[in-house]
Subunit: 436 residues, 4 copies
């Protein structure tokens, strides 16, 4: 009866990162063809990064297929190796969770989630469990499947090894996005030897561990991650565009909550501003809709909103200066002077402080950046005597990047209005912004 | 005074295809930062191909930078070689024309141009010559510049060698798109040795010719082009999505011309349907706007329009069968039967016949496909005695792909309604569509 | 009992072309570790091509592993597909034949085989069948194995599909060498989509055929082959070095047959010159030995031999001029004049005429170049109705390269002695060699 | 007069790592064509590494061209940038030094230099200064050139910036070998963004420094270096083959110093064993000669020498076990037991302890491994205010790899004789070697 679920002939997708992506199960094929999954084609994987790296225009659709493919390869290797600790019957649940783990993402999700206090994992679970094509496809296969996959997403699934494949410090998600983002941006920091890493992974007592001989390959992978964070994901131009994006949403929400009447609006965005968005409206939110709203709002009577939208669309981003240390007094001073020259400090000044935890051994549950919210179990090495050790105990390199890494303070601001009121600024502020 | 126009420090863009793109002139930098050029970020280079090759999500912005960069490299090689036949003073005009040659493209331009009888080259000239940021930047540099660049685009420029660099059978445009489309789709048919081709190009009596020793490199380039056409650009799934796109526009135009009232419409699209679109509206047409319209039209009361939009957004494309020869009688028969089961043959059946002229020596000015409308001068080889010869006289390979190449006839149709009315179809029609 | 022959843990070789090469059978592992197979490390895959493309220093050892790996992948795909026409029990014989098909190659084998009238396939069979480590390893596994593999090499094996995998117009041998030679020379003509080609191969009634949808992939592969022949394998600088190599052997043989006493010689070379080389001596012939002989012979009293060796070692190759047509009269004239100025026309003038049959449909059994001596069955396409058609009937591209392709006539000669006696040459000869 | 030295048309070499290598000066072209430079084709870049990574068969010829090309690119960037601190007149000396810096290398030079107490830099200077083709070519150009280049090699040249380009912690030599060795082995640890690194190098007060914004690019480069050392250069299989090589030389020298008569020897090797090798003999030492000697010595009556040679040629290398800490007592014990079972502990046991200094800030002049013998100045960052800072002060990553890195102790030994005398070994020794 297994054959009922196999495709007569395997389907392939041409993929620049993995060469080909192989689909062998009817269920996976059907999931890809749902409208919720096709919607991921209209959401960029890297949000606004294309404004910095023009090649980074790839979608979450591509990435989701890639996560599926890496997971398929890991499982296939576990099956070929005949390892007892891999529960074979979990294959399809794992593949579905890998494919669908990002299904709840909306457009520019980090910004939207922050301003509207949402969470894409909750949306993922709703899409799995409520009335959607995905839910229907899963139910047809097995009535328990939606709940099982949702449990994997929530990390409460009773086979932790499945969770570990889909979400851990060395999961299929990260492996795909590092390789894919490197490919599309054109940088070569994100490249590591995927085939070798896959070969040293082992299922072991409910978790995925790494054969000792693979330690250097893991070092290389973690260094790739570190470099991608500091050189791509935290690029100041990208941060500047994210700030503007966030301020557009903040301003629109503020106006909506006041007495302002938008000259143009569309239902899903109205629900969004209203903090009452339902699943159907959420699923119709895509980058096309957001960009269309911005291109209409350029003509709004609220000058601040119109200006922010114009900046975003035409890439007239905020400039920035950097500071090594926090200086609350100075910042308050800048805000005062901005006010004095007619700027809105809440919108025209933003202090950004990027930090990252490339590898986390201590599980502190404390300060983390928003890209890595949860506690993650450490990466373990398995030696020839079947003993486990935590990898940063063995590698100087990994120890050096363990824990929090911080960058400089970045002050973002619009240059043009400052230039116009230069003479009204105090000299030390003028100097700070590079005007003599 | 030349220095007035050089950037203090050259700017670089990270590019996956050329590694880096170097900008050394203030003028080029200013052009890139205009809103008309930034708009190209919102228009995909390959239209609907991303529905076939999910990686092909790159924009005309990336491609335009690439064309500029290849042109910059060719000119730089000409300058290093000190060739007399290269008019040095044409450098900046050539670079601008290379950068801006696609500025008039709208979203999904092949479909829109066909349905609304427009031409992106005309739009390019209007953007150069009418009131735009690009026009202003050019004028500031030199009042004659807009007209000169427009002349290059129209191929009437008095230095034909400049036209030849920007538009010929081996121009910077084609070289970039083959390499770029290959990179983003992930196929490797489009790869050829750009560095070698650049090294064998020579300016010669008003045209660009190829050093004899580069013949095999040109063969390789033309074969890449041939393979990309048949394996990527003419892929039946892409054609199917283009057909649906075209039918959406046709249907909307038909409805607009009738008494139909759209439940949702937006100004630039209304102008488009009205055949009266002005430059400002044209410039606000981007893929975001088009996709937003489609996602709204899914809810239109016209079922045909709603169905076509739903098909496009959720990738429920038409299926196809192939036929070796034209059979007008059979096609009329199919149309009749489609009518009989309640289908609209004008929208539910489309016969497509891809053909291409990978290399054209005869300049016949007759039948051409829409991707290569104009007569193109042949590629010439320059031997050691400074004699020229047409390349297909020298290469068997090139002779074999010279002239028209035709594929099979493809009949595209929606599968679901046929399935529902199967019993009403005649047996030979059922068999044709693969139902027994 | 199958397990007896599987390795406990699969072994991998890091390979630049295939990323990794996987060894899963103890027998394959043991064969690789024989001294006859290790000897292939001391024989370059491309003979003298490293004198033209300095990167082409790779050995037959690397290539042999690559042929094995491609064969392994094809068989693995056949097994996954469950095709009835693939005889599963032939797997190991096929892998062994793939791995060992080049085991009989000596150093610079094309030159040596020509001068000494030998044939590497005969040596391959002797190594399989006579007293060698390889023979012993095979016998231990199965007493019939040496003869079965030899039959595959001789193309007399009773399962023609096995022969077809190892030796045909699209065999694992060619696929690996095109990719590998392209990688090591650094040209990109030889790259084609191996993964796609592997996916469209099908076992069908005793032969390997290609699924119809793979036609363009085969075109691409054959074009790669065509380009590699004309741009790499037939490069005039490589031909020049092969000519000198051949003349060294000819001269040494001539001297040995006369009364000349070599001031330095070593046993295997003596046997070689004597036309009486036995298997042990043959196996000790490697490039190190040949180059050592040449570096000693630089000091021989025979000036011609010393000069040829010096030319080879220090890359002082013959120059060449090209002619479009044969001109026996002119060539006789040149020989006379060479004699008159004290040159040896037999050694100082060589007329070379490269030709190739990139794809052969006619099986003529007539004129062929030495790289493709035997008749090869044509490549067949398998359509959806299980009908076969010969590929050049379907593809213009392939038709254009079918049959014999010829280059120009190349006259190779030493430049220095001509320069010294320039005044003694007739004007039309001077002009021919580019001296005014 | 400058033109006198430019080539009429630039020459190119196809190179897999840099795509093309451009030669624009007649002097460089003439140097490449000397017999001393051509000899580098017969010496592998990575010594015995091809026994571990079969693709690593590339020669010092390829690498030397690569170092030249990187240096050419750096200088070209300095010239385009118009930096005052780059002494333009040093271009040709720098290019020559880059091209020739490895000219003194012999075959397997680390082993030979150790056993025979030689130094390839001294040989390089002798080749520059004594009677060679290289010396003659340089003298013809400028009588002072040989001495100037030798001064660069010796690091005594009066323009330290030239020395710094050719030999420092981020010199053209290292950049090429990391990229090249990664390419030919097929690993991807050695890849870093060369183009970006070249763009951030600046000449500054007699040294090469790095623009501050290039810090992450340097991190990436140093990590590549770190990974290549531990995963490629220190691979235990390579070390094992180097140990056998060294022991062959030691044994041959010992026999030569005793009363032993070699049944086969050849002059340059006799001089080598005699510690009296002259320049001409040294230049005739290549890997072909060494391998020919080994293949003859397999038949020597000294069993130890014959066995070692057989091991090297047929890749029957020593096995190894690892220990975390030194244990002199245990090692003495092993030696005693080896003696007791008839082994030669001096030849049959070698304890190896790899260590490396990936980046050295302290210039301690103390313990260093043999690949980085000399003190190296640290890498400096240049910030926007023209202030310099040492890079490890700024980068956690670089700080983590600064200073000495040590591996485990490796004990190498021949497995077969141990197996034969297993019962005579004490249990704890048996266990150590993995026999139960």
């Amino acid at each position: 009866m297994e054959n009922r679920h196999s495709l007569e002939e395997e389907k392939v997708f041409k993929d620049p990162v993995h060469k080909y992506i192989y689909v062998q199960d009817q269920l996976i094929w059907n999931l890809i063809n749902t409208k919720e999954f096709q919607r991921l084609r209209r959401i960029r994987q890297l949000g606004t990064s294309y404004l910095t790296f023009h090649g980074a225009e790839h979608s979450r659709f591509s990435h989701s297929l890639g996560v599926y493919e890496i997971t398929r390869k890991v499982i296939s290797q576990f099956e070929r190796g005949g390892y007892q600790d891999w529960p074979k019957e979990e294959k399809l649940v794992t593949l579905c969770a890998a494919l669908l783990h990002d299904i709840g993402h909306g457009p520019f999700s980090h910004s939207i989630e922050e301003v509207f206090d949402m969470n894409h994992e909750e949306w993922t679970c709703r899409i799995l469990l409520e009335s959607t094509e995905i839910n229907r496809v899963l139910l047809e296969y097995d009535p328990l499947l939606p709940e099982r996959i949702a449990a994997v997403i929530r990390k409460t699934y009773d086979k932790p090894i499945v969770v570990s494949l889909v979400s851990s410090q060395m999961d299929a998600d990260r492996m795909d996005y590092l390789l894919r983002d490197a490919y599309y941006t054109g940088v070569n920091y994100g490249t590591f030897d995927l085939e070798r890493i896959l070969r040293v992974l082992r299922p072991h007592q409910g978790r995925i561990v790494v054969k000792e001989s693979g330690m250097h390959a893991v070092e290389d992978y973690l260094m790739s991650r570190y470099q991608m964070y500091w050189q791509v994901y935290f690029h100041p131009v990208t941060r500047s565009s994210e700030i503007i994006l966030r301020q557009i949403f903040r301003r629109a929400k503020e106006l909506y909550g006041g007495n302002y009447t938008f000259s143009w609006i569309i239902n899903p965005i109205e629900q969004l501003l209203n903090d009452s968005i339902d699943l159907e409206a959420y699923l119709s939110l895509d980058e096309a809709l957001i960009q269309t709203a911005f291109s209409q709002w350029v003509k709004e009577s609220d000058e601040l909103l119109a200006d922010l939208c114009e900046r975003f669309l035409n890439r007239r981003l905020y400039k920035y200066v950097t500071m090594d240390h926090a200086d609350e007094e100075l910042w308050a001073d800048i805000r005062d002077q901005f006010l004095a020259i007619g700027l809105h400090p809440d919108y025209h000044l933003e202090i950004d402080f990027p930090y990252d935890m490339p590898y986390d051994v201590y599980r502190p549950g404390t300060l983390h950046n928003d890209l890595d919210k949860e506690d993650k179990p450490p990466i373990l090495l398995l030696d020839q005597d079947q003993q486990l050790s935590e990898i940063s105990e063995r590698s100087d390199i990994i120890r050096s990047i363990t824990g929090l890494h911080q960058g400089k303070y970045h002050l973002y601001y619009p240059e043009e209005p400052l230039l116009e009121s230069l003479h009204k600024l105090q000299p030390h502020i003028r100097e700070l912004f590079g005007f003599m």
